[in-house]
């Protein structure tokens, strides 16, 4: 049985930056909602962010 009101759809958009220094990659970005249909069960998400460190060997 499906939990009523649990389905949700969201669209996010935002910039991110990737810097490469030889075998190292550093990334960071932030996104904001363009569209949000999340129903009453969830709090509103105003932004999301990500920071990443990558190393190739």
């Amino acid at each position: 049985m499906e939990l009523p009101g649990s389905s949700a759809s969201q669209i996010f958009l935002g910039p991110s930056l990737l810097g490469v220094y030889r075998a190292i990659g550093i990334e960071a970005g932030i996104q904001f909602p363009l569209y949000r249909d999340t129903g009453p069960l969830y709090p509103k998400e105003h932004y999301r962010f990500a920071i990443n460190f990558a190393y190739f060997f």
Partner: protein, 211 residues
């Protein structure tokens, strides 16, 4: 504390200067799906932090290995600092939902090199295992079985511009009468690498994305 800082600086500097021919230039964007795979025999390690509205954040570690230049295996694992009350979503599409362990295979099944650019398509599939952390919000106390992820991404990459579009689908098995909802994630990415940013070692090489 000062000793720890020095140690981190030494480790990062040593990593930068001891690296071989493999470089991170083919790394994809942080949010959206992208086609690059690792070179044959090449390893990569990613460590990332992501959060949503300041209420949830997690640390994701991913280890990848290129079996061939077109087939990459990747395993990822999370440490969830704060359980997520928002609708289930994958902040970084490269690794599935925060809180899941994953073992994924990335297969670049199409690659066409043209003058100054290449067109690629990559399929991804693998297993998901929910982590030990309890969820928050609507899914508190919800049990979950193992899951799987399938998806694909296609795009064009040149020295100055990148365009990728992709989608993944995640589904979980029932556990103790509970079942997580399915998740469809669609991503579109445009990347730009201005001429003035196109520099080689020993300078940083930058690109900006809209995800």
């Amino acid at each position: 504390m000062e000793l720890n800082k020095r140690f981190c600086v030494i480790v990062i500097a040593a990593a930068a200067f001891s690296a071989g021919e493999i470089d991170a230039a083919d790394h994809g964007p942080v949010f959206g799906l992208a086609t690059p795979t690792n070179p044959k025999g090449g390893w990569s390690f990613d460590l990332g932090v992501n959060g949503r509205s300041g209420k949830a954040s997690s640390l994701e570690a991913e280890l990848s290995y290129g079996i061939t230049e077109n087939l990459k295996l990747a395993v990822s694992g999370p440490i969830v600092f704060s359980a997520d009350p928002f609708p289930r979503s994958s902040v970084t599409a490269n690794t599935p939902i925060s809180g899941d362990f994953s073992a994924l295979a990335w297969w670049r099944f199409k690659r066409k090199d043209l003058a100054g650019k290449r067109i690629e398509s990559t399929a991804v599939g693998g297993l998901l295992a929910p982590g030990p952390q309890q969820e928050a919000g609507a899914f508190r106390n919800l049990n979950s079985g193992l899951g799987y992820l399938i998806g694909a991404v296609t795009g064009v990459a040149s020295r100055s511009q990148y365009v990728w579009a992709g989608a993944t689908y995640q589904k979980y098995a029932q556990s103790s009468g509970d079942q997580r909802p399915d998740l469809v994630t669609c991503t579109a990415v445009y990347g730009y690498r201005p001429l003035s940013w196109r520099t080689d070692y020993p300078r940083w090489d930058w690109r900006v994305f809209g995800d």
